[in-house]
Symmetry: C2
């Protein structure tokens, strides 16, 4: 008998799961229906800031696989603008609303993949629904903002939220020639970095011409004729022809929770290593799940396309009859704001303390290439190590071209619980166009190891 697989959510996690399952099982064996409530499936949400900024010519460029490819080449019945409104675990059906014609129907399943993604935080404040206030969660959001930029001739923008997406949007709006303000309730941009590294980013943003307002919460928006005109914090008002909300997301678990699929303390759906939920035949992947942090050994919910793709692949292999597991994360992330590159992996100093580590930290200034080689750029590498053992717990990089991708080397070191002393012996590549003779990673490891040697174990 043909098994029926239903996938809720047509982006990275859902469509990776569907594609992998199809690779391993043919249509006679597995029928696949995927529901996507929006206009677009299988696109790069992370590319939206570059669409808005103009580096990417049009929205189509962000589509990884066109809907026809799923239908024609993979025999996956992808239904766009089709929203799942309920999961019925007893009857093994989902309720669907087709927004193209308003039709409602039920679709039966044997196995179900929940890939409902993240729900953007939208502040419940006066004026938050005015015209000119944009989220940048979906490609539809990005297209709407792009249209506003091209037709509305805005001159000033306020970006609310100074995380990765907020910073990337600030760059995009700078590129469009707007006056840009960036507001965040925290005392630093990039709350996922240590404060000393975050403050380097504040400096860089200001040097780029961004008005950076930290430690102030947005309390409301003024509007005129239904369109936003200003953003207010407790202590100031900022004129705004448009507002971009970059406040992050939470796991979108309303459907799962209503059906009784257990979620964890992070509010993400709980799964095991194979991405199975607690309910037989129900899988989950992507921004809607929680995963395991290999350093803190705690569940975390991290919304990143790269995890969504991997988890989706794992689900698809398992549904396809193979065996795969998602091992967890070490918290790696990277971003770029104009010429500045920022990256992190592992735990910050505060996260390490919260997880019960006493730490030693060291920050070193070094160069992306041999100092004498053209194009050498300054970079700073911070390491956070366990004070007793010298184990690398986390690392952060801020620098210019060629700096940030070194975080991958550090991520693999964190993954393997290397000590900073062990890391000083790593056989990393060297040639003058690529690194100084001591790669910045090795210099940071040396300096941190020396600090551990001095301070370590004293108690």
């Amino acid at each position: 008998m043909t098994e029926r697989l239903v996938v809720i959510g047509g982006d990275a996690a859902g469509m990776s799961a569907a594609s992998q399952a199809r690779n391993r099982r043919d249509s006679d064996d597995l029928r696949i229906v995927a529901f996507e409530k929006g206009e677009h499936a299988s696109y790069s949400a992370c590319g939206i800031p570059y669409l808005v900024g103009g580096q990417v010519p049009d929205a189509q460029a962000l589509i990884a696989r066109r809907p026809e490819v799923f239908r024609d080449e993979l025999d996956i019945d992808l239904r766009l603008r089709s929203e799942v409104t309920e999961i019925d675990l007893d009857r093994r059906t989902v309720a669907v609303c087709d927004h193209r014609d308003g039709r409602r129907y039920r679709e039966p399943f044997d196995q179900l993949v929940i890939a409902t993604g993240g729900l953007p935080h939208r502040p419940d404040l006066p004026g938050a629904k005015a015209g000119g206030v944009y989220g940048v969660q979906t490609l539809d959001d990005g297209v709407a903002l792009l249209r506003a930029l091209e037709t509305g001739r805005p001159r000033s923008a306020v970006v609310v939220g100074a995380g990765y997406i907020g910073l990337e949007m600030a760059e995009a709006l700078l590129r469009r020639g707007l006056e840009v303000s960036l507001v965040d309730a925290g005392e630093q941009p990039m709350g996922t970095l240590d404060p000393d590294m975050g403050s380097l980013i504040s400096d860089a943003l200001r040097a780029l011409g961004v008005k950076v307002v930290l430690g102030e919460s947005v309390e409301g928006f003024s509007e005129s004729g239904g369109r936003v005109t200003a953003v207010h914090t407790g202590s100031r008002s900022m004129q705004a022809d448009l507002v971009v909300l970059g406040l992050g997301t939470s796991p979108n678990t309303a459907l799962a929770e209503a059906a009784g699929v257990p979620v964890g303390d992070t509010s993400g759906i709980r799964t095991d290593r194979r991405m199975r939920t607690a309910i037989e035949g129900i899988w989950a992947a992507g921004d809607c799940v929680e995963t395991f942090h290999l350093v803190s050994r705690r569940p975390v919910a991290i919304a990143l396309g790269t995890h969504a793709n991997k988890q989706g692949r794992v689900v698809g292999i398992n549904i396809g009859g193979g065996y795969a597991g998602f091992p967890g994360v070490v918290g790696t992330a990277v971003s770029k704001i104009c010429e500045y590159e920022v990256a992190r992996t592992g735990l910050t100093t505060a996260e390490a303390a919260e997880a019960g580590f006493e730490t030693v930290e060291e920050t070193v200034k070094s160069s992306t290439r041999a100092g004498y080689y053209p194009g050498a750029r300054e970079m700073r590498t911070k390491m956070i190590a366990d004070r007793r053992t010298g184990r690398l717990l986390g690392a952060q990089i801020i620098g210019q071209e060629g700096a940030a991708k070194r975080i991958d080397t550090l991520a693999v070191a964190v993954w393997h619980e290397m000590t900073v002393e062990e890391m000083t012996g790593l056989d990393l590549s060297y040639a003058p166009p690529f690194a100084p003779v001591w790669d910045p990673v090795l210099i940071a490891a040396r300096k941190t190891a020396e600090r551990v040697e001095r301070l370590g174990g004293q108690g």
Copy 2:
């Protein structure tokens, strides 16, 4: 009583050892004399091609630490143009010839660091000593070649040897506007890569306008008036206003061997993990030693500044009273020839076979950034895995800007004996300016894992 440390060789390994020892022991406790037979100490030999090519403005830029710094700040008695001609282990002295005035004397030591570097291969062929035939081993060599380029107006050059240094010199000479031929006895450039990857480099070199002659050994040089005019192989003659020899080096162990310090089968000086030779109080580091390959588990002699620096540091820490070890290498290397980046780590397919592995290989084409992001460049990543276990044994990268430094991530994976399947879960950084959503490293790991799954264990 003040202990006496003598260091033979004033470049990376020797001066790292001296500096580290000084950091840990002051002048009353340890007297340090370092002998360097050339004009320059503590310079970046790897930077010579960029000096010749004009990217680096002058030889001074390649000097990491000026001789005065060693004398004045570190109280290290660095003696330039002073050649050690004998090590007398019984009397614990070295014999020195001061080339500035011809004076010969003996210097006593309690501890001795042998950092005599590599000896460039110079073919014993007719005409090999003609004017216009240059090595590029020392900074003095580089300066001499530079002078020849600036004053002699050469128009054609032949580079003998298509390894890293040969390719880098070919680029340098192209940049100087010369017609460049590259000759190698092997069937591919970069013999440290697999043939399929090496042939991509041949293609790239030819596209850059280099005449690439492979599989032909140089049999001699014509000269006229004491200057080289042509290079001859068995089947052709190439006009040459100058010749650059890039034939690699062997460990320079004449002094050590004459004194009875044991060398290994690789012809490098044998040391333990702390870089102690078999003789009490005699240490060795840098291009003159052999080290341990962590994948083949065999001794290897690899001449690289990065190893020399690390080994020198280890010697210095140990002489300084600390404890440090050099763990071995995984064979990482990187190079750049015009816009092409080349990197490798671990074992090649042939090296793996020789070490007793049956392998599975996979090469994937991917992109340095998200395909839609400006500046995305093509790159190829090859992985070599153990057929039975899927353990990553080696990897090679060829690509354009942003490709090659990913080798470090792979080097750490090889270091930790990761399987390619494990690697598919690695938490590597992703953002469109830095990588596609599946980093090339992850794509290659996936594809190789799939191949291992198909082929693995059969047999």
